[in-house]
């Protein structure tokens, strides 16, 4: 066990956990930020995507020890009032079915649009390809990313 100082959604947090604990479980079990989801544990599904200094990373593969001194953003902190252009676009296209993967999809999409505000279809597909949606909402996700891109 060791103590870690983290910056999550702009707030300082301290946790006392095993150094190897992935950020996914630090967020979920210790900080009650459960919007970040567990899907596979091996960075193959994207459900656990968060932003580390603005970049989309899979939190199941990010040890807490590597997350110090970085700005972490989770779905809960993406926007103050749930009105990030990506969230708004998701609402407009009524994207979710079961909804479980959508936080991860939104975090990947918002990181993409930050670095590339006007992505092509191919760039969207490449960026989003690591995020599985078992319900198959892919066509709506792509449309929503485009809408968000227009409303940035």
């Amino acid at each position: 066990m060791a103590t870690y100082n983290l910056t999550i959604n702009g707030k300082s947090k301290q946790v006392d956990v095993d150094p190897g604990t992935p950020m996914l479980w630090v967020l979920r079990d210790y900080l009650d930020l459960v919007g970040t989801k567990f899907g596979c544990g091996i960075a193959q599904c994207g459900a656990c995507t968060i932003h580390l200094d603005g970049n989309a990373v899979r939190s199941c593969q990010l040890p807490v020890s590597a997350a110090q001194d970085a700005e972490i953003t989770t779905i809960e902190g993406l926007s103050e009032n749930g009105d990030h252009p990506v969230q708004e676009a998701w609402k407009e296209h009524d994207v979710p079915q079961c909804g479980y993967c959508q936080a991860g999809q939104i975090m990947t999409a918002s990181a993409l649009l930050k670095s590339n505000p006007n992505p092509s279809d191919e760039e969207i597909e490449n960026a989003m390809n690591g995020n599985i949606c078992r319900c198959g909402t892919y066509t709506r996700i792509k449309a929503a990313v485009k809408t968000a891109s227009q409303n940035l």
């Binding site: 193959q44 079915q97 993967c101 995020n131 892919y138």
Partner: protein, 753 residues
């Protein structure tokens, strides 16, 4: 306007006040914030008045509707309350939705599966809405001293035109709650619907998109412990021994112990499918710690002998079910299936004299289709929260079928049903998998043992290797043609491990004079369960691929050929037991012919068509495919659907789009295989799922516009896409694809997959 007798649905008129509410969550249809905003605070009434199980109204006119069925992504939590709101005649803007927990005393059929939620909820929900409206009208009549028949309602307002009296529902709610339940109530004409048929957004969208806790895996209470399970590494194996000391020094680990899912003498029900009735539980302080310990836990496993257990029959009594011993292999499965394909099966249906017709045929077309086992792979792995203390239990978990697990919970815990509360979590996918809810029993047994609240979570590997798969299937089709290519006879022989996919009375049965259907089954210890459109999800692809090839052989357009058969089934049906309506079947083919511009395809695309009837709905689909840089790419999919009245059109299209994506993914890549009883794929690194790049560029879902009562939607768009894809691949590559998944064969054609 038609009237309905309310007695049929009496159970829904029990008042909830006598029952303690557990875990119920509010969802404003229009705001849906987790913490009430200022606007919501102003809107929250001071007092609620219950009109029946489904409906309560605040003094300020705000309406709460309970959504009875578990939500796994088919959006029943929005569409079922829409049906209530329609007949209540309220304004959707004033509606809040709450997920009802499992209260069989209050709600009918709290089951999500078989595409039956809307179909079977249609009349009960309309009745509940219309009854509450009638009680509000009756209260107004009493207050205003005017005849109820002169009172009208509209969007939550009550009016007596001749006296000019007006009130909103909230003003009458208190008095309405004391009115007698009317014996008969009037229901709206379809033409008067104001909510049904208009697209409403998902009532939980705001929570989903901001990461609010809404799944069982998100649940936490003070003092809660975490648990993981360890199950045998292979089907046909069981626990021999384990060494607790192998993990006892590990950080955060409390205990390791075995749990028995079933009591010895318990007669299981049809949904009591569990692969490993004995498991090891690891309990500790966090998910990560128990997952680490489970990797390190040393346990010995041994081959399980053949076992027999009692299963409760539908009409009372029990039958013994035998699970064979042995460690099975996919290679052996294949060779066994090849044997059965050569043998005769059990005749399920015979019309005319198929044997003679085949004997005198000028030409016989015979093709065999196969598909592998599939894992459901819901994005949220199996998990459950349980708090068992003394003789009381609270279970909060993802289940499609709380009724089917309640008896098991009661037996396994030794706690009477009335002391067990099952609360219904939103599910991160279901697809049939969560109709088998033994994860709830497992969590409950762990909590019972430690007398502490616990959340048990499967790893992805546990989830993928725990069985309850879609079975592996095979179907052999034969068609007898005369020298003029007229169809003389049709023969299907279909089987699988361990069940047959045959639906002997579906199309083209009824359209062909000489018809033979045979079934076979090979026993196995690999557990299976319902998987989106059970059996149809394979047999549709086989049948519709065969009809495509047969149409070509006969020199006919594939849509025209099907329409000819359906015309025959309609005008002069063969046999008595045909379980489809040929006219509605033909209707979706005609619609997709129009929407896809069948005779005028986009340049450069290869198209395939398919149609199927299941879960009371009719669907035809056209797939347009292109080979781009040596890669098969689905450009467009057109679907035409007849599921009667569409309650929530945009959400219905979303469901259809998802089913099409799911079908394309499974047709191309889906496959589970076994070596010495062990599943060879345990996570998404090896089990290939369809991803963004492989999804169709465009999906268009159109509905037949009619006023038929609504039927299934979650499943019917899934089965036909397999053949529409296969038939388009044939056009693109010149080869027919008989064996799922298609990707390995396409790679052999030097295509990139």
């Amino acid at each position: 306007m038609k009237t309905v007798n309310t007695k049929l649905n009496r159970r829904s008129f029990l008042k909830a006040s006598a029952l303690a509410g557990g875990g119920m969550m509010l969802s404003f249809s229009w705001l849906a914030g987790c913490k009430p905003t200022e606007e919501e605070m102003l809107t929250m009434p001071k007092e609620w008045f219950e009109l029946n199980s489904y409906i309560k109204i605040g003094e300020n006119g705000v309406v709460t509707l309970y959504s009875p069925n578990p939500e796994f992504g088919s959006n029943v939590k929005t569409s079922m309350p829409m049906i209530l709101a329609e007949e209540l005649d309220t304004d959707w803007k004033n509606v809040m939705v709450e997920q009802a927990d499992f209260y069989p005393e209050r709600f009918d059929r709290q089951f999500t599966g078989g595409s039956q939620g809307i179909r079977q909820g249609w009349t009960p929900l309309r009745t509940a809405g219309a009854t509450a409206r009638a009680m509000l009208v009756s209260a107004a009549a009493q207050s205003w001293n005017v005849p109820a028949t002169e009172i009208t309602t509209s969007a939550g307002q009550i009016e007596h035109k001749s006296s000019g009296k007006k009130a909103h529902y909230g003003e009458m709610a208190s008095l309405a709650a004391t009115q007698e339940i009317p014996e008969e109530v009037a229901m709206k004409d379809v033409s008067d619907f104001a909510i049904i048929g208009t697209s409403k957004k998902n009532v939980d969208a705001e929570k989903i998109l901001t990461g609010k806790p809404m799944f069982a895996i998100d649940h936490k209470v003070p003092g809660m412990k975490y648990a993981a399970i360890v199950h045998p590494p292979a089907f046909g194996m069981r626990l021999k021994s384990f060494d607790k000391s192998s993990v006892s020094g590990m950080s955060g680990i409390m205990d390791v112990f075995p749990i028995q899912v079933f009591k010895e003498d318990y007669a299981r029900n049809f949904f009591d499918t569990t692969t490993f009735p004995e498991l090891l539980a690891v309990v500790g302080n966090s998910t990560w710690e128990v997952m680490q310990a489970k990797k390190q836990l040393s346990a010995e496993w041994e081959e399980a002998p053949e076992s027999t257990f009692p299963m409760a029959g539908r009409g009372g009594g029990t039958t013994d079910i035998t699970i064979p011993s042995g460690l099975e292999n996919s290679g052996t499965h294949k060779s066994k299936m090849e044997e059965y394909i050569q043998k005769s099966g059990n005749v399920v249906r015979r019309d005319g004299d198929p044997e003679s017709a085949f004997a005198k045929a000028a030409k016989v077309l015979e093709r065999t289709y196969t598909a592998p086992f599939l894992a459901h792979n819901t994005m949220e792995p199996m998990n459950c929260f349980a708090d068992v203390s003394g003789d009381k239990a609270v279970i909060y978990g993802p289940t499609q079928a709380p009724e089917f697990i309640m008896g098991t919970l009661s037996s396994s815990l030794g706690i009477p049903r009335e002391n067990i509360q099952i609360n219904l979590a939103r599910m991160g996918g279901g697809f049939g998998r969560r109709a088998y809810s033994h994860h709830m029993v497992e969590a409950a047994l762990i909590s019972q043992k430690i007398q502490t609240p616990v959340k048990m979570v499967y790893t992805r590997e546990d989830d993928m290797s725990a069985g309850v798969y879609r079975p592996t299937y095979s179907a052999t089709y034969r068609a007898a043609l005369d020298e003029n290519n007229n169809l003389l006879a049709f023969h299907v022989k279909a089987g699988g491990i361990p069940e047959t996919p045959l639906h002997a009375n579906r199309f083209p049965a009824g359209a062909i004079d000489n018809y033979l259907a045979e079934a076979w089954e090979i026993p196995s210890n690999i557990t299976i369960g319902a998987f989106r459109a059970p059996r149809s999800n394979f047999i549709a692809g086989a049948e519709q691929s065969f009809l495509d090839e047969l149409a070509e052989e006969m020199g006919k357009d594939p849509i025209e050929f099907r329409l000819e058969l359906l015309e025959r089934a309609e005008t002069n049906p063969v046999g008595q037991r045909n379980d489809y309506d040929p006219k509605r079947y033909a209707g979706v083919l005609e619609l997709v012919r129009e929407t896809s511009a069948w005779n005028n395809p986009q340049a450069g695309v290869s198209r395939g068509v398919s149609a199927y009837f299941c879960h009371n709905s009719y669907v035809a689909e056209v797939v347009d495919l292109k080979i781009v840089d040596s890669q098969p790419t689905v450009e467009s999919v057109f679907a035409a659907v007849d599921c009667g009245i569409v309650v929530n059109p945009d959400a219905a299209r979303n469901m259809g789009e998802g089913a099409i994506v799911d079908g394309i993914g499974n047709a191309f890549y889906g496959e589970m295989t076994f070596e010495n009883g062990a599943p060879t794929k345990r996570n998404f690194d090896r089990y290939r799922m369809i991803r963004h790049k492989e999804a169709p560029r465009k999906i268009q879902v159109d509905f037949v516009d009619n006023n038929e009562d609504p039927t299934g939607l979650g499943e019917p768009l899934f089965p036909p896409v397999f053949a529409a894809l296969a038939n388009s691949l044939y056009k693109a590559t010149g080869k027919r694809y008989y064996e799922q998944p298609f990707a390995p064969q396409l790679e052999m054609e030097n295509l990139r997959m």
